[in-house]
Amino acid sequence: MALTELTHLSITEAASGLRRKEFSPSELARACLERIESIDHKLHSFITVTADLALEQARKAEQELRGGTDKGPLHGIPIALKDLYATKGIRTTCHSAVLQDWVPDHDATTVTKLCEAGTVLLGKLGMHEFAFGGPSVDAPFPAVRNPWNMAHIPGGSSSGSGAALAAGLCLGCLGSDTGGSIRTPSSHCGVVGMKPTYGRVSRFGVVSLSWSLDHAGPMARTVEDCAILLQAIAGYDPKDPASANVPVPDLRSELKNKIKGLRVGVPRVNWFNENKGTDPETEAIFDTALKTLESLGAVVVEIDGRPFSIARKANQTILTAEAYAYHEKRFQEAPEKFGSSVRRRMLEGAFLSAADYITALRARTVLNEQIRANFSAVDIFVTPSAPRPPDAFETMDPNEQNLRPSFTNPFNLTGLPAISLPCGFTKDNLPVGLQIAASPFEESTVLRVAYAYERASEWHTRRPKL
């Protein structure tokens, strides 16, 4: 098999190939490292490549598999991490001059779990600085480019994760999501990304943006691969005060269950047309995806989008206040170390009062109730993942995002599980994502619907020309 074919395998396919001895973990790791070497100077998806470690871990996996020790579907699989996951002995920068030389003395719980599952770490991925603001044009590392069109942004903040997957530089990633930072780059890069229920995956060792809104989660090229990664990292962690002690079901075994009769809530009215509204081409692609779900037996129900629309205001207030509180001392002592985009956005938090923050938290109570009340009439929510395709770097307007609906924010505010998967391409060949959300801890429902849609479509099989 050609090297580029190896790097574009799904985790499921690679796991089968490894067990059939069609290739070894070392060959798989080398194929990824060679592809990173040959094309990532154009994409900038990696900040740090851990080639020696990857080859060492791959050799170990090879010996273990050969000796009959099989740790499961991630054994010998090359992955990469957004550069805000603490990795013991490996620089963790958050794409910022502030942490440019930080080498943690511990691993994030999720990193430990992936290591125990036998993964091979290729390196650390670029992102929006501290997971906030926009592409980091004045950070110490270059901004990540979109593999589908390098003049365009890949979406953020897990920009390197989305780009590396789409470009076939790794087989799986971890991202993080506080307002849409897994789902937006997944949408813009044509890959699959899941924000689990708040508390489902440990945040220990993940550099915080906003404690009460941060979610750690998987990104991959298929829904099944996301299920495999989530299975490995989910579960109670006493080191994370928000961790939920809720059993994790066998996510992969539930993928193939049918969706006939499932009630699909579409909160279109009072939301999709907010301010400048949703890009018409994006909405048309979304409507076609709805028809596919209907053809699989789902029943589409239009619901009121108003509480979803307002959720963004509460999400932004809480996020900005918590982010500023986390970085306050750094802003007082050395504000020049932050890039211009993240500095401007985070500093807004300095001018919110305690009463403003509490008001947003009280609104969160109301909006949680209003949004979750819909589950008496529907089983899932479905929306586009982003209101428009990825902008070009040159024409990008940082204020524009406040003038369009945020389809992702409400699911951070409510903590509900949500996924983005490819559902089409624009005339300019830019990916469009479909977002599916469900009630708390119903990741298996989200994955089941996403898997059914993916099986009925071919969008996930497309690759960017690089």
Binding site: T197, Y198, G199, W211, S212, A242, A244, N245, V246, I310, K313, A314, Q316, T317, T320, F331, Q332, P335, R343, R344, R345, L347, E348, A350, F351, L352, D356, I358, T359, A360, L361, R362, A363, R364, T365, V366, L367, N368, R372, F375, D379, N399, N402, T414, G415, S439, P440, F441, E442
Partner: protein, 65 residues
Amino acid sequence: MVKELTLAQLRMMAERSGLKLTDEEVGKLLPGVNRSHNQILELRKLITDSIEPASAFAASRTEKK
């Protein structure tokens, strides 16, 4: 809508917060800060006296289907 903050007020608030910002930077922040304050006003319309803050999504309060 409440009266919007002026540049001078924002500069004073920044100083009181221990922030050393240039005039240009304070100017760039002003629209975002005023937008944030208008958002708070909209959120206030949602809440009544009996509503308590949700500091985080609590798994223990989850109502399973």
